[in-house]
């Protein structure tokens, strides 16, 4: 019995190269340069930021080639207060993860809200991007450290109900 093989380890790995596609490449290159660049659907005119896989999933067409600059301010369309600590957490709870509809975009991006007590964050609240120092910029939305309130009046629900 002691000679029986009870367990084997068979590690398997494959290295992959990932291609962002020309439309998301423009988005990633824009971030390196401190710009927020989306792409417009030629059929329904919605602006995708980020351009996802390069198509408008509603219409099934390729997004247009032209860059569409969005933000840097936007509107909180929905949010979640994070109270639970977890492994690898970078921020001390409670904090707010929100979906932010950048001005000029038709889909929201998820980001962090700081500069306001978590229990004061609300749907329709206006926020703006707070960028990291440009020496830290790379091809990532993490170039924006967080969003903070602008102090502008809240946006009416009906004005963003179509982009939730």
């Amino acid at each position: 019995m002691s000679d029986d093989v009870l367990r084997v380890r068979t590690p398997i790995g494959v290295d992959y190269g990932w291609t962002a596609g020309p439309r998301s490449t423009a988005y990633l290159q824009g971030l390196i340069d401190g710009k927020l660049l989306g792409k417009r659907c030629p059929t329904c005119t919605k602006v995708y930021f980020p351009p996802r896989n390069g198509t408008c999933p509603m219409c099934g067409v390729l997004l247009g080639d032209d860059d569409v600059e969005v933000g840097p301010a936007g509107t909180v369309t929905t949010f979640c207060v994070v109270n639970v600590p977890f492994l690898g957490q970078k921020i001390v709870p409670p904090y707010v993860a929100a979906t932010i509809l950048l001005d000029g975009a038709d889909i929201g991006v998820q980001h962090l809200i700081l500069g306001i007590d978590a229990d004061k964050v609300r749907m329709g609240m206006r926020v703006e991007a707070v960028w990291k120092d440009s020496s830290q910029w790379g091809p990532t939305l993490e170039n924006i450290d967080h969003f903070q309130p602008t102090g502008e009046p809240d946006v009416e629900f009906t004005d963003y109900a179509g982009q939730l």
């Binding site: 084997v8 068979t10 398997i12 494959v14 290295d15 992959y16 190269g17 990932w18 291609t19 962002a20 596609g21 020309p22 439309r23 998301s24 490449t25 996802r52 896989n53 390069g54 198509t55 408008c56 999933p57 509603m58 219409c59 099934g60 067409v61 390729l62």
Partner: protein, 350 residues
């Protein structure tokens, strides 16, 4: 049983693309729909074949729906197989009367990784995968078994490669083509003994798509639909040591159930990424090379878009019927290590 036919096809293949797989799908889907004269809203069912392991992204197949225009909601499905098996699902869907038309597509991005290593991940994880075999090693084992059994020869393998490259000269989606002599090929060194470079497939990134339609809908789309008279797929044991690698019993059984031998086959498109596989399959399917034109497209040897190459065989065979240059054709697709799974489809003109 309803009459169901292939009525339109479209392909793309390049050595490597920087597009996302979803971006690459859109133009081919547009082309196949245009060839059928259909709008997206006319499509009763969408069925997709692909493999997440190819780009290393779980549930990547869900993203493919972004290429379809799924609003208002559509009816769609996916198989983690070559698109030929997606065609089988779509064929069943139409046969049950649930819809009259289906768009079938398969796509792959071979440039994402070492596909010979990726394809080895389908081996038994306890006994076979730890041996470190890749797909070429497995193919070499099968070629060696067949050579030793005396059922194929290295010259025969080189003849397959030379003919495939010659045929590829008229296939705009071939990634390698040209005139080359058998002696020239045999003078090259064995890279993966007994395999030489010409015995291996030419990997590509791309898409193949086709439209299936039933009865009068098919007749309204195409002047000469490629009617699917029989379709069947069978599976051999997965373990490489569990079967005689010099034969392909599942292909023989699928061909028998399709009645391949009941009449003349004008054209056979055989999904054989390696040269010896085509020779084994030709015998297993009961194809007579003196009567049947084999792989006029050049086959997977000249353009191996993984997860689309099997569906491409169906499409290329159907094109010959639709163009009126063949009456009865066979299409074959394979999956799994060393020809484990085999699908056979027989199509005819009106």
């Amino acid at each position: 049983m309803r009459d169901i036919a292939v009525v339109a096809t479209a392909h793309s293949a390049v050595t490597s693309t920087t597009e996302t797989p979803v971006e690459s799908l859109v133009p081919v889907l547009n082309e196949v729909l245009a060839n059928a004269g259909l709008q997206r809203s006319d499509v009763g069912f969408w069925c997709h074949g692909s493999c997440d392991y190819m780009i290393g992204q779980p549930f990547s197949f869900v993203q493919a729906v972004d290429a379809l225009g799924a609003w208002p909601p559509i009816v769609e499905s996916h198989v983690e197989m070559d698109g030929a098996w997606a065609m089988y699902e779509a064929w069943m869907k139409i046969a049950t009367g649930e819809c009259d038309t289906a768009v079938v597509f398969g796509n792959g991005k071979s440039s994402s990784a070492d596909m010979f290593a990726v394809m080895a991940l389908q081996l038994d994880p306890y006994t076979d995968a730890p041996l470190g075999l890749d797909q070429v090693s497995m193919a070499g084992l099968q070629a060696r078994a067949a050579l030793d059994a005396g059922v194929i020869s290295e010259r025969g393998m080189a003849e397959v490669a030379a003919r495939s490259r010659r045929n590829a000269m008229t296939n705009p989606h071939a990634l390698v083509s040209g005139e080359v002599s058998v002696d020239e090929l045999l003078a090259a060194p064995r890279l993966h003994d007994p395999l030489r470079m010409h015995d291996l497939p030419t990997p590509g990134d791309g898409v193949s798509a086709l439209v299936l339609a039933a009865g009068d809908v098919a007749r309204s789309i195409s002047d000469r639909p490629a009617w699917i008279r029989a379709i069947d797929h069978r599976i051999d044991a997965q373990r490489l040591g569990g079967r005689n690698l010099a034969t392909v019993a599942s292909a023989t059984e699928a061909a028998r159930r399709c009645g391949v031998g009941d009449g003349r086959i004008d054209v056979a498109e055989i999904h054989a990424p390696f040269t010896h596989e085509e020779l084994l399959l030709t015998a297993a399917l009961g194809i007579d090379p003196s009567v049947t034109e084999i792989n006029p497209s050049g086959g997977a040897l000249v353009s191996n878009v993984l997860m689309a190459a099997g569906l491409a065989r169906v499409a290329h065979a159907a094109e010959r019927v639709m163009h009126g240059t063949a009456d009865r054709v066979l299409a074959h697709a394979t999956q799994g290590p060393c020809l484990q799974q085999n699908l056979v489809c027989v199509m005819e003109g009106e």
